[in-house]
Symmetry: none
Subunit: 226 residues, 2 copies
Amino acid sequence: MGRVCIIPWCRVESFDTQKVPGNSRAMIRVLLAEDQAMVLGALSALLGLESDIEVVGAAADGETAWRDVQRLKPDVLVTDIEMPSLTGLELAQRIQRHEMTTKVVIVTTFARPGFLRRALDAGVAGYLLKDAPAENLAEALRKVHRGGRSIDPQLALDAWSEADPLNDRERQVLRLAGEGRSAGEIAGQLNLSQGTVRNYLSEAIGKLGVGNRIEAFRLARQKGWL
Amino acid sequence: MGRVCIIPWCRVESFDTQKVPGNSRAMIRVLLAEDQAMVLGALSALLGLESDIEVVGAAADGETAWRDVQRLKPDVLVTDIEMPSLTGLELAQRIQRHEMTTKVVIVTTFARPGFLRRALDAGVAGYLLKDAPAENLAEALRKVHRGGRSIDPQLALDAWSEADPLNDRERQVLRLAGEGRSAGEIAGQLNLSQGTVRNYLSEAIGKLGVGNRIEAFRLARQKGWL
DNA sequence: CATCGCTGGTGACAAGCGTCATTCGCCGGA
DNA sequence: TCCGGCGAATGACGCTTGTCACCAGCGATG
């Protein structure tokens, strides 16, 4: 199995991954997927410090990650969500559909309950935030490799407790308000009266427990409700 | 220049003979500032593999980074831009104003011309994108430490396009307004009068040629002027 | 048929927003 | 010394927002 290192100055063209110097133990074979090259390299370095983890590949976009998953059959895929050509969530779905043994751990910036929910539906075994301490990653990989799950606890709570309180109209109106449209403009665009638009906005503001449309928009977007 | 391959599964062992544990050599003392803990840890691991670089500290927000800069007086500060309490750009400004010898290298996701421009005004020596290959970082640090500069070339071109029309106050006010603060709240926070805040907002709205604070905020942020 | 509940609308009111003309103090340059 | 410019404040004006109480149609459900 020939493999090319994707990091340019790393000029090794291929080598044997099965055989690990001095250690035939339960080495966890990990594939990384992350579109920001520098973060990708850094994560690779980070995991490389762990004696029981072996980074067998690193992909910078969704499609190559998918090919690498099929080719390398890693124990664990560590992936970002936002990537070109194929998101981490779609990647997880494919792995689920193909009934592969590769576990998926999402590592992302976005603490949006909506994302977590979709990730769980796609059968991911881990969901970490980039805000979390770096040690958590290796720990999570071990847990997942043992068959466990590792979900950001704070986020897990949010995903259960908080359902989207907004209805369709409120979402529409809030989206436009967030772009700076006035009540009148929104009314024109949705074929409503100006007063009705203000009522919906007021409703949304009340439901979200904030003070104005801007905060309402920010909160709703942050929660993944828009 | 001896270099160690940073990618762990790339098992090239290139030894650096320069480096001695006693280190009388040009060890580059680096402070990291990055709000995403996992990325911070990963970058730390990445740079830790370089034989001529020593990571002397790692801060997760702007204020602690600033304290660490004063305390540790590192050769180079590697900082993200978007951080709580103090952005990387403000950090660079402070270092410039205090005429410290610490060089600043910005490492960010944002390829916004305005950011680069303000970074250059603040006298930073390097501006890298997280999209860039990981080995660029260490390379840039060395170049900067030798007194050189390392600016993302593509971005450097764009920077000459559009100038930021906003002044300091307008930026501050707009940032807070974008978070949903009212004129009164902003006034309290900046020790201004409510009327003055509205004047600044009006100015900003006019300069940007938009219709209200929300549009002004969105436009300014998109251009990298905040 | 009565009666909910839902979607949308009205009108009124206070508070906040955006604009403008004007003022004041202060600093730096001519 | 005077003058211009800048940062900040003021007050006034009209428009927009956020809130609330209330009303009208309309489809279900009893």
